[in-house]
C-alpha cells in the first residue's frame, strides 16, 4: 500500500513541478492540451491529495488504532478491496482530468465516473471503521484515539457531502463554490489537525505511551478544531460574490482557529518536555517541529488575511495557495512520510538508513519552505501590482514570474526528496522480499529439485 502511495506521490510532485514550469513557460514540452497548466495542475493536486495524503493518513490512523492492542487487523480483505477500488478510480479519474473531463470544481475535479468509485471505496471503508475501528481499544477516553477515529470518519462525511453538493446534485451558482470551500477547509485544517493531534503525537511519544498530562488541552484542541475549523471555509470566499455575513463569520472563525493551534502547540510542548533526555529516533523532533510550524504558519497566514488592508492585497493571488501548500506540502506530506517510515520499520522489522531518511525529509521540508515563501511573497507582489491600475497585465506577470520561479525550484527540491524517499522504500521492500519471501521460495525450489532428483 505504501509503495503504491509513494508512486502517486512521486508522480504528483513531478507533475506539480511540471505544471509550474508550464505556467512560466507554456511552450515547454510543446503545446499539447494534455500538458497545459489548466489540466496538469488539477491532475497533480488530485493525485497528491487522493493518491497519497488521504490513503496514507487513513492507513496510519488504522495502524494507530490497532498498534497498541497487538490485535491482528480484522477483515483485511475488505480493506484491501476498498483500497484497490480507490486506486483504480483515482487512476481513471486522473487520466480523465488530463483528457479534459474534470468537473471544474477545484480539489474535486475527478470526473463523475471516477469519483463514484472513490465514493464506493470510502463507504466500504467507513463501514469497516464503524464495525471494527475501536475493537480492543482499552482507553476510549484517549484523545489520540479520538483523533484516529476522527481522521477515519471525517473524510467519508466531508467527501460524500461535498460531492453531492457540488458535483452529483449540483446546487445552484455560487453555492457549489461554498461547498467546495467547506470540503477543502475541513480536509486541510480539521482532518490535518486531527492528524497532528493524534497520529503525529503518537509518533513523537511512542505508541505505547500512556495518557499524557496535556490530554485536557488536547481535548480542548480537538473540539475547538471541529467547531471553528470548518466555519473558517467562509474566509476562502473573501472578495467573492457572497453576502458580507459569510465573510465576517469566516474571518472570526479564522482568528478563533488560533485557539486550537495554541492548544496543539501546548500539547506538543508538554510531550517534548516529557521526552527530554530520552533517546529519539532519526529526525523525529525536527520533523514534528517543522510540520507543526507549517501548520501554525498556515493558520496564522489565514488569520492575518482577515485584516482589510491585507485582504485587499492578497485576494485572488497566490497567497491563498501558499496557505494550502503550507498545510499540504509543509505539514501533511512530511508527517505522512515520517509515519510511513515508523510503520514500515516496526512492522517489517527492517532498518532505514538514518542518513537517507534525514536527507529525504530535509529536502522535502526545504522544498516546502521555498514553495510557501515563493507563493506568499509572490502573492503580495501580485496583489500590489493588480491593485495599481497603472501596471499593465504583462508587467504584473513579469513581476510575479520570479517568485513563481522560486516556487518551481521548491517543487523540484521536494521532487528530489520524494525520489530519495521512494528509493529507500524500494530498498526496504527489496530487503523485505529477501528476508521474508526469498527463504520461502528457496525451500520451495529445493523441494522441487529434490523431487525431480528422486524421480530421476
Amino acid at each position: 500500500m505504501f509503495a503504491v502511495a509513494t508512486c502517486w506521490l512521486v508522480v504528483s510532485v513531478f507533475a506539480m513541478a511540471l505544471a509550474l514550469i508550464k505556467l512560466n513557460a507554456p511552450e515547454f514540452l510543446g503545446t499539447s492540451c494534455f500538458l497545459s497548466y489548466g489540466r496538469l495542475q488539477p491532475a497533480a493536486l488530485n493525485a497528491l491529495v487522493f493518491g497519497f495524503c488521504v490513503p496514507v493518513g487513513h492507513a496510519v490512523a488504522v495502524w494507530g488504532l490497532f498498534a497498541g492492542t497487538g490485535a491482528p487487523l480484522p477483515r483485511k480483505d475488505v480493506m484491501l478491496t476498498s483500497w484497490a477500488v480507490w486506486n483504480v478510480g483515482l487512476l481513471i479519474g486522473t487520466i480523465g482530468i488530463l483528457r479534459g473531463d474534470g468537473t471544474g470544481i477545484e480539489w474535486l475535479e475527478l470526473p463523475g465516473y471516477a469519483s463514484r468509485m472513490l465514493v464506493v471505496s470510502v463507504l466500504i471503508f467507513a463501514v469497516w471503521v464503524l464495525r471494527f475501528g475501536w475493537r480492543g481499544c482499552n482507553d476510549q477516553n484517549d484523545v489520540r484515539l479520538w483523533c484516529c477515529v476522527g481522521v477515519l470518519l471525517l473524510f467519508p462525511w466531508i467527501y460524500g457531502a461535498a460531492l453531492v453538493g457540488s458535483v452529483y446534485a449540483q446546487v445552484r451558482g455560487v453555492l457549489a463554490a461554498v461547498t467546495q470551500a467547506w470540503f477543502v477547509q475541513m480536509l486541510l485544517v480539521v482532518w490535518g489537525g486531527f492528524f497532528a493531534l493524534g497520529v503525529l503525537r503518537s509518533y513523537s511519544t511512542g505508541t505505547g505511551a500512556q495518557t499524557l498530562v496535556s490530554d485536557r488541552v488536547a481535548r480542548f484542541a480537538f473540539w475547538t478544531l471541529v467547531l471553528f475549523g470548518g466555519v473558517g471555509a467562509f474566509q476562502r470566499l473573501q472578495g467573492g460574490p457572497f453576502p458580507a455575513w459569510m465573510i465576517a463569520v469566516g474571518n472570526a472563525s479564522a482568528v478563533l482557529c488560533l485557539l486550537p493551534l495554541c492548544a496543539v502547540l501546548i500539547s506538543f510542548r508538554s510531550v517534548f518536555a516529557e521526552q527530554r533526555g530520552q533517546g529519539k529516533t532519526v529526525g523525529s523532533r525536527g520533523i514534528v517541529v517543522s510540520a507543526l510550524g507549517f501548520y501554525g504558519l498556515a493558520l496564522v497566514l489565514a488569520a492575518v488575511s482577515c485584516f482589510h488592508s491585507v485582504a485587499r492585497v492578497v485576494q485572488f493571488t497566490t497567497y491563498r495557495q501558499a496557505i494550502d501548500m503550507s498545510l499540504l506540502i509543509g505539514f501533511l506530506v512530511p508527517s505522512l512520510l515520517y509515519a510511513i517510515h515508523g510503520i514500515m520499520q516496526l512492522d517489517a522489522g527492517l532498518r532505514w538508513s538514518g542518513q537517507f531518511l534525514q536527507r529525504a525529509l530535509f529536502l522535502t521540508v526545504a522544498g516546502g519552505a521555498l514553495i510557501v515563501a515563493g507563493l506568499v511573497i509572490g502573492g503580495v507582489v501580485q496583489g500590489v501590482a493588480w491593485n495599481d491600475p497603472a501596471v499593465s497585465v504583462a508587467d504584473v506577470i513579469r513581476r510575479t514570474g520570479k517568485w513563481l520561479g522560486m516556487t518551481t525550484a521548491g517543487w523540484l527540491l521536494v521532487s528530489c526528496g520524494i525520489v530519495w524517499f521512494a528509493v529507500q522504500v524500494c530498498m526496504l521492500i527489496a530487503g523485505g522480499f529477501r528476508l521474508i519471501l526469498w527463504p520461502v521460495a528457496r525451500v520451495w525450489f529445493q523441494a522441487d529439485i529434490a523431487e525431480k532428483e528422486a524421480g530421476a
Binding site: 476510549q140 446546487v171 451558482g173 467547531l227 470548518g230 453576502p243 493571488t317
Partner: protein, 226 residues
C-alpha cells in the same frame, strides 16, 4: 466501551453544525435566487446563454481556464478591479445562477473575465488571442490553444473563411497558411463574449444610484427607438 457512543454522537453533531452553518445556511439564503427583470430596460438578468455558448462553457471548463482567470469583480473598496475596467460594479451571487459549475476561479495569473464580453466585442481578436496569445500581449504566459484551429496552406485567391486568422492578422510565423477556427474555438469565443455581469439591480448597487442609473438607461433606450 463506555465513551464510544457519546463521543461518536458529539463528533457527528459538531461536524453537522459546521456543515449546517457553512453549506445549508447559505443555501437557504441564496438557493432561491431567481433571474430579475429590470423594469426600466425590460432585460431579464442573467440572460439564458445560447447553445453555442453553453458548449463553450464546457470547453472553458475542460481547458481549465479558471485556474488562471477569475470571474469575480471586487468592490472598489477591496481592490482596483473596477478601476482596471474589469467591471462597473462588484459581482453578486445572482450573476452566476445560470452557471453550473460557476467556475469563479481563485487566483489571477491573467485578467478577470467576469465582464470580458463587455470590454471585448471582436470575436476575431479573441480567436487570435487563443491561437497565439503573444501576438497580442508580448511575453504572455497564456498557452496557445492551437489544437482548436485548423492550419492549412492559404489558397491563391485568398481565404474564403471570414475568421481566417493568419491572413487577416498577418502573423509572420504563419505566412502562406490560413488558420481556421474549429467549432470548439468558435464555441469558446461565443461563451467568452457572453460573459457580462454589468446589469444594475438591487443587491448589485445602492438603491438611489440604481434608480438614477437605470432610469437614465431606460431613457436612452427609448430615445434609440425609431
Amino acid at each position: 466501551m463506555t465513551s464510544r457512543y457519546p463521543f461518536l454522537l458529539f463528533f457527528a453533531l459538531a461536524i453537522a453544525a459546521s456543515w449546517l452553518v457553512v453549506v445549508v445556511w447559505p443555501h437557504l439564503q441564496l438557493g432561491g435566487l431567481e433571474p430579475v427583470t429590470i423594469e426600466e430596460t425590460g432585460v431579464v438578468y442573467p440572460p439564458i446563454r445560447s447553445g453555442e455558448a453553453l458548449v463553450g462553457a464546457e470547453i472553458y471548463r475542460s481547458l481549465g481556464c479558471q485556474y488562471c482567470h477569475t470571474r469575480q469583480v471586487r468592490p472598489s473598496t477591496m481592490g482596483a478591479d473596477i478601476a482596471r475596467g474589469w467591471g462597473r460594479r462588484r459581482t453578486v451571487a445572482r450573476d452566476y445562477i445560470r452557471d453550473q459549475p460557476p467556475m469563479l476561479g481563485s487566483v489571477r495569473f491573467g485578467p478577470d473575465l467576469a465582464n470580458l464580453g463587455c470590454r471585448e466585442t471582436n470575436a476575431a481578436a479573441l480567436l487570435l488571442r487563443l491561437y497565439k496569445p503573444s501576438a497580442i500581449v508580448p511575453l504572455s504566459t497564456m498557452p496557445s490553444y492551437r489544437h482548436l484551429f485548423h492550419v492549412r496552406p492559404a489558397p491563391a485567391g485568398g481565404s474564403e473563411w471570414r475568421n481566417s486568422l493568419a491572413l487577416r492578422m498577418n502573423l509572420s510565423s504563419d505566412q502562406g497558411s490560413e488558420v481556421i477556427p474549429r467549432a470548439e474555438a468558435r464555441a469558446l469565443v461565443s461563451y467568452l463574449l457572453s460573459l457580462k455581469a454589468d446589469e444594475l439591480f438591487l443587491e448589485a448597487y445602492p438603491r438611489e444610484d440604481l434608480q438614477t442609473t437605470n432610469s437614465a438607461r431606460g431613457m436612452d433606450k427609448a430615445r434609440a427607438l425609431p
